[in-house]
C-alpha cells in the first residue's frame, strides 16, 4: 500500500472499528471486544508499515479537503508524528486487553459506548499525529476533546459529571481562546499554516512579540497541562482506569505535548524557538517541581499519578522551550518513555482497585503479598518515570541534563536532578507501602473495612502492566534507534 493509502487506513481503521462496535452493541460482548482487539492490531500493523516504509524524500502531503484557499485539511507523515502514532497505536492493543479485564471485573455499564469512543479517540489521535498543517491538527485536537468526553463521564455519577465538565471547560476554553488566537496570528503573519522544516515564523513576527505568541501556544494547548492550567487532568481522573491509562498517559496528554513539539520544530523553527523560550524554561521547570510536590500530598493513587503526569509533561514543555535539537530529542523520547512508564502505573493502580477495591495509598498496606508481580511491575514503571537506568525513562532526563549543561543553566541541572528524587519520593511510597507495611487487619490504626471481599485479579488486568514494565527496559535499549529515526527531522547532526 502506498504512503497515502496507509495514512488513510490509519484514520479509517479506528473509525470502522467504532462503527462495527456500535453495530454489534451489547448483544454480543465477546464479538464487540474481538472487534476492538482486531481493530487495534490492524492499526498497529498499519502504523508499523508506515514507520518501516518511511522515507522523508518521498513523503508527500495528502489533501483531504480544502475549506478555503490556503486552509486545507492535509495529512503528511513525518518522523515525530510517526513516533507518536506508534506509541498510541501500540499501547491501544495492551490497553484494550486491560479494558476487557477491568470493565468486566467492575461490571461496568455502557461498555459499547466506551469501546466505540475509545476507537474514535484513537482515530483523532492518528489524525493529530499525521496532520500536515496546524489547521488540520487543530480540528483533530478539538475532535479528540469531544470524543473523549463520554469516556471521562463514563460512570455518570455526580462527581463524574462535575469532573468531566471541568475537563471539557478547560480544554475547550484554552483551545478556543489562546490556541485559536495564536493560530490566526500565525496565519496572518506567515501566510501559511503548513508544517515546514525549519519553521515558518522566522523574521515574520518581531522578536519582542515572539514570546507572547509562544505563550499563547503554550497555554493554548491545554492538553499539555502546563501549570496553572493543569486542573482538568486531576479532575478527569473520575474516568474508569483504562481511560485514565490510555488517554491521560498516552493519547490526550501526549497529543498536547506532541502539538507543542510540532509547533516548535515546524512552525517556530528551533533557533527562533530557543530565542523566544527563555521564560517558558523557568515556568516549565517550576511546574515540574510544584507538581511533584503536590503529588506527594495526594493519598488517592490516581490523583498522585495525575500530578505526576503534570510534572512529567512539563518536562516535555521544558524541552520544547530550550529549543535545541538535543532538547527536542529529549522531548520526543520523554513522550515515548513516559507513555510506557505511566501506563504501567495506571494499569497497576487499576489492578489494585479491581482486586482489593482500594484506591488510596493509606489503604493498600501489605497487599503486595497477594500480587507481588503486579507490584514489581509497578516498581519498574515508577523507576522508569523517575528516570533511572536500566529503564527507558533515563534517556530523556539525561539528554535534558546534557542540554541544560550545554546552556550553563546550573539551576536547571539542579532542578532536573531534584525532579528525579522527588519522583521517587512520591512513587516509591506506593511500592513500599504495598510490599512492606503490615496489612491493616494487623494495624491498630486501620480504618473499618468497607465490606468488599477481595476478588482475584483477572489475568487480563495483570498481563498488560507486566508487558509494559518489560517494555520500559526494552525501550532503554531501543532509545538510540528512536533517536536515529527522528534525528534528520530535528536537525540533530551528531547523535548523542
Amino acid at each position: 500500500m502506498s504512503g497515502a493509502g496507509l495514512m488513510l487506513a490509519a484514520l479509517a481503521l479506528p473509525l470502522a472499528t467504532a462503527l462495527l462496535i456500535a453495530l454489534v452493541g451489547e448483544r454480543r460482548p465477546d464479538l464487540r471486544e474481538a472487534v476492538t482487539l482486531a481493530g487495534a492490531t490492524a492499526l498497529a500493523i498499519t502504523v508499523a508499515l508506515m514507520i518501516a516504509g518511511f522515507d522523508s524524500a518521498t513523503a508527500a502531503p495528502l489533501v483531504l479537503a480544502t475549506l478555503v484557499p490556503g486552509f486545507s485539511l492535509t495529512l503528511k507523515a513525518e518522523p515525530i508524528g510517526l513516533v507518536f502514532a506508534g506509541v498510541a497505536s501500540g499501547l491501544w492493543i495492551l490497553n484494550s486487553l486491560y479494558s476487557i479485564g477491568y470493565m468486566r471485573a467492575e461490571h461496568a455499564p455502557r461498555q459499547t459506548r466506551f469501546y466505540a469512543c475509545f476507537a474514535l479517540a484513537l482515530s483523532a489521535a492518528m489524525a493529530i499525529a499525521l496532520s500536515g498543517n496546524l489547521a488540520t491538527l487543530f480540528v483533530a485536537y478539538e475532535i479528540l476533546t469531544l470524543v473523549t468526553y463520554p469516556l471521562v463521564v463514563h460512570w455518570q455519577t455526580e462527581g463524574a459529571i462535575e469532573g468531566a465538565r471541568r475537563y471539557l471547560a478547560y480544554l475547550l476554553a484554552t483551545s478556543l481562546v489562546p490556541f485559536m488566537a495564536a493560530l490566526v496570528w500565525t496565519w496572518v503573519a506567515a501566510g501559511t499554516l503548513d508544517f515546514t522544516p525549519g519553521g515558518i515564523l522566522a523574521g515574520k513576527v518581531s522578536a519582542a512579540l515572539m514570546p507572547v505568541l509562544l505563550g499563547l501556544y503554550a497555554y493554548g494547548v491545554g492538553k499539555a497541562a502546563l501549570m496553572p492550567l493543569h486542573g482538568w487532568l486531576p479532575a478527569a481522573m473520575v474516568a474508569p482506569t483504562p481511560v485514565s491509562a490510555l488517554l491521560h498517559a498516552v493519547a490526550v496528554v501526549k497529543a498536547g505535548v506532541f502539538t507543542l513539539l510540532k509547533i516548535a520544530v515546524y512552525i517556530f523553527g528551533l533557533p527562533t524557538m530557543a530565542a523566544a523560550g527563555d521564560w517558558l524554561v523557568w515556568v516549565a521547570g517550576g511546574s515540574v517541581i510544584a507538581a511533584s510536590l503536590i503529588a506527594m500530598t495526594k493519598d488517592d493513587l490516581k490523583a498522585r499519578l495525575a500530578y505526576s503526569t503534570v510534572a512529567q509533561l512539563a518536562l516535555v514543555t521544558l524541552a520544547v522551550a530550550l529549543g535545541e535539537p538535543l532538547a527536542i530529542a529529549a522531548g520526543v523520547l520523554q513522550l515515548v518513555m513516559h507513555a510506557w512508564g505511566k501506563i504501567t502505573l495506571f494499569f497497576g493502580a487499576g489492578a489494585i482497585q479491581i482486586a482489593t477495591h482500594k484506591k488510596k495509598l493509606s489503604e493498600i498496606a501489605g497487599i503486595g503479598a497477594q500480587m507481588p508481580l503486579l507490584i514489581v511491575s509497578f516498581l519498574g514503571g515508577a523507576l522508569s518515570v523517575a528516570g533511572l537506568p536500566p529503564f527507558g525513562g533515563m534517556w530523556p532526563k539525561y539528554l535534558l541534563l546534557e542540554a541544560a549543561a550545554g546552556r550553563h543553566m546550573v539551576l536547571l541541572v539542579v532542578c532536573l536532578g531534584l525532579s528525579t528524587l522527588l519522583t521517587l519520593g512520591y512513587l516509591l511510597p506506593v511500592v513500599i507501602t504495598a510490599l512492606f507495611r503490615k496489612p491493616r487487619d494487623e494495624d491498630p490504626h486501620a480504618l473499618p473495612d468497607t465490606g468488599h471481599e477481595p476478588s482475584p485479579l483477572p489475568l487480563l488486568a495483570l498481563l498488560p502492566p507486566v508487558i509494559t514494565a518489560a517494555g520500559c527496559i526494552l525501550l532503554f535499549l531501543a532509545a538510540p534507534a528512536i533517536l536515529a529515526f527522528i534525528a534528520p527531522a530535528i536537525g540533530l547532526e551528531t547523535l548523542p
Binding site: M180, V184, Y398, A405, G425, L483
Partner: protein, 524 residues
C-alpha cells in the same frame, strides 16, 4: 557508534549478559531449582566469554582477575543457596554480578553510571529480601543513598568535561557515597548483615568493589582521599573490635579495608593502584570465606557443625598470611606509603589488618566454631565452596606478582617480618587470660553508625520530616495554584457569560469575537 549506544552496548551485548539473563530468569520463574540451574548456565556462559571480553576491551591482567573473582563469588553464592531457599537473593546476585562485569568494562562515565545503578537496584532487592523489618528499612536507606549517588554520577556524565572542578566534586561525592566513606558509612553496616546469609556473600563482593576500583580510575592521586582512607581504616576497626554479631563485625571490617583501598587511591602511584585492585580481589576472597562461615553458623541457629573450624581458619588466614589472598594488596599499599615517606601509615594499616585478623577471624573461630559432641558435618556444598575459595586464595597469594607486577615488593624481608610480628601479636590476643578481658556487646558501638540511635532510622526519620515539610509546601502550593486556576477560570467564564449570556454555543461566538480583536491587533 554514538555515545548513547556505546554506553549501552559497547559494540555488542554488554559483558556479563549471560548472568543478567540468568538473573532475570531466576527472578521471573518461581522455582528454586530452575533459578539455580539458570544461574549455573549463565555463569558457565559468562566465564567462557571472559577471554573474548579481555581481548575486546583490552583489559589489564588485574581487571581480568577481578572479573574471574566475581564469577567465583557468583558460583559460591549459587552453591551456598542450595541449602536454604533464597531465590530473590540468587536472582539479585546474578544480576548484580553481571552488571558489575559490565560496569568494569564500561569505558564511558555514562555507561558506568548506568551499570552501577543496576547493581544498586539488584543489591537493594537482595537486602530487602532479608525479610525482617530491619532489612526492609536498611534496604530502603541503601536504595535512597545509592540512587542519590547515581543521580550525581549522571549529572557529572551530562556535564561532560571530565576535568572541570564541578565534575570532579560530583564524582567525589558520588563515590564517597558508594564506597561508604564516613560519615555516610552507616548504610553498609546496616544493610549487609540485614540481608540473608546468601545475600551478604553477593553484597560484600560487587557493589563496593566496583565503586572503589572505579574511584581509582577517576580520582587517583587525590590527596584528601589518602587521609579519608586512613581515618576510615582506623575508625571502622574500632567498633569492629567489640561487635558480637559476626556478620556485622565483618561489615565493619569491610569498611575498614575499603579505607585502606581508598588511602591507596589517594597515593595514586602505580604500585599503590595495583595494590588497590589486588587488595580488592583478596578482600573479596577472604570476606566471602568468612561470610560463608558466618552464614553456615547462622542457618544452623548458632550450632557449629563439624568442619566449620577449618573453614573459619582458612578464611582468617587468608586475611593476612603471606601466600594467601589478603597479604599482597595490603603489603603493596604499605610499601607505596613508605615510598611516600609515610612509614607510620604503613604500620597503621598493618595494625588494622592484624586487628581484622583477630576480631573477625580468630575470635569467632575460637569462641563459636567449636562443634558440640555429635554435631553433624558441614554440608558438601559448603566444603566445595571452601575448596574453591581457598584455591582462589592460594592462586592470588602465590601468583600475585604475575597479575600485579609491582607485587613482588611484598616478598622482601621487611614487609614479611612486619606482617609476621603483627600476626603473632594478633594471635596473642587469643590467650584465654587476654581474650576474657576483651569486651563484646551485641550491637556494639552501633551509635557510630551515625546518627543515633541507628543511622538508618535516623535517616528515615529525617527524610520523613523533610517529606512532610515538602508535603506542607506542596499543599500550600496546590491550594494556591488551585485558587489561581479557579479565579482565572471564573474570570474567563464570567467574561464569557457577560459577553454572551452563557452557554457553550455562545462560547464559540465569543471566541470568534476575540479572534476578530486578535486579527485587528495583528494587522495594526
Amino acid at each position: 557508534m554514538t555515545e548513547m549506544a556505546h554506553a549501552l552496548l559497547g559494540g555488542g551485548l554488554p559483558p556479563g549478559w549471560p548472568l543478567l539473563l540468568a538473573g532475570l530468569i531466576a527472578f521471573a520463574v518461581r522455582s528454586e531449582v530452575i533459578g539455580r540451574l539458570a544461574g549455573i548456565a549463565g555463569l558457565c556462559a559468562s566465564l567462557a566469554l571472559v577471554p573474548d571480553l579481555a581481548a575486546a576491551a583490552n583489559l589489564l591482567p588485574l581487571e581480568l582477575a577481578l572479573m574471574v573473582t566475581f564469577h567465583l563469588v557468583v558460583g559460591i553464592g549459587i552453591l551456598f543457596a542450595g541449602q536454604r531457599p533464597d531465590r530473590i537473593a540468587v536472582a539479585g546476585g546474578l544480576i548484580a554480578g553481571g552488571a558489575a562485569l559490565a560496569a568494569l568494562a564500561a569505558r564511558t562515565l555514562l555507561g558506568f553510571a548506568i551499570w552501577t545503578e543496576v547493581i544498586a537496584l539488584a543489591s537493594a532487592f537482595i537486602v530487602m529480601a532479608g525479610g525482617t523489618p530491619r532489612a526492609l528499612s536498611a534496604g530502603l536507606a541503601y536504595l535512597l543513598l545509592q540512587v542519590t549517588a547515581g543521580v550525581l554520577l549522571l549529572i557529572a556524565a551530562a556535564l561532560g568535561q571530565m576535568d572541570a572542578p564541578v565534575v570532579l566534586w560530583l564524582l567525589f561525592a558520588a563515590f564517597c557515597l558508594k564506597v561508604a566513606v564516613p560519615p555516610v558509612h552507616g548504610w553498609l553496616v546496616a544493610a549487609y548483615p540485614a540481608a540473608s546469609p546468601t545475600g551478604s556473600l553477593f553484597l560484600a563482593a560487587f557493589a563496593t568493589k566496583v565503586a572503589v576500583v572505579s574511584l581509582g580510575a577517576a580520582l587517583a592521586g587525590a590527596e584528601p582521599l589518602l587521609w579519608l582512607g586512613l581515618v576510615m581504616a582506623v575508625g571502622a576497626a574500632i567498633p569492629m573490635l567489640f561487635e558480637a554479631h559476626w556478620r556485622r563485625a565483618l561489615s565493619w571490617s569491610l569498611v575498614s579495608q575499603l579505607g585502606v583501598m581508598v588511602a591507596g587511591i589517594g597515593l595514586g602511584s602505580p604500585e599503590a593502584m595495583q595494590g588497590v585492585v589486588l587488595l580488592a580481589i583478596g578482600h573479596i576472597l577472604y570476606s566471602t570465606l568468612l561470610f560463608l562461615a558466618a552464614g553456615s553458623l547462622e542457618i544452623r541457629d548458632g550450632k557449629a557443625p563439624r568442619g566449620l573450624r577449618v573453614l573459619a581458619l582458612l578464611g582468617a588466614l587468608s586475611i593476612g598470611l603471606p601466600g594467601l589472598a589478603g597479604y599482597g594488596g595490603k603489603a603493596l599499599i604499605g610499601e607505596a606509603l613508605i615510598h611516600h615517606h609515610m612509614a607510620w601509615a604503613d604500620y597503621v594499616i598493618v595494625v588494622v589488618g592484624a586487628l581484622v585478623f583477630a576480631a573477625v577471624g580468630l575470635r569467632p573461630l575460637v569462641e563459636r566454631c567449636t562443634p558440640a559432641p555429635g554435631a553433624p558435618w558441614i554440608s558438601l556444598r559448603e566444603a566445595a565452596a571452601t575448596a574453591l575459595l581457598v584455591a582462589g586464595s592460594l592462586l592470588v597469594g602465590l601468583f600475585g606478582p604475575l597479575i600485579a607486577p609491582a607485587a613482588s615488593v611484598a616478598w622482601h624481608a621487611g614487609p614479611l617480618i612486619v606482617q609476621a610480628i603483627a600476626l603473632s601479636l594478633a594471635c596473642l590476643t587469643m590467650v584465654p587470660a587476654v581474650r576474657r578481658r576483651w569486651p563484646q556487646w551485641p550491637d556494639a558501638l552501633d551509635f557510630l553508625a551515625l546518627p543515633k540511635p541507628a543511622w538508618v532510622t535516623g535517616a528515615i526519620t529525617g527524610l520523613t520530616v523533610f517529606g512532610e515539610m515538602l508535603s506542607r509546601i506542596g499543599a500550600v502550593a496546590s491550594a494556591l495554584t488551585a485558587a489561581i486556576g479557579r479565579t482565572g477560570g471564573r474570570l474567563l467564564l464570567a467574561t464569557a457569560r457577560g459577553l454572551t449570556a452563557g452557554g457553550l454555543g455562545d462560547g464559540v461566538l465569543w471566541a470568534l469575537a476575540l479572534l476578530t480583536v486578535a486579527l485587528i491587533v495583528s494587522f495594526g
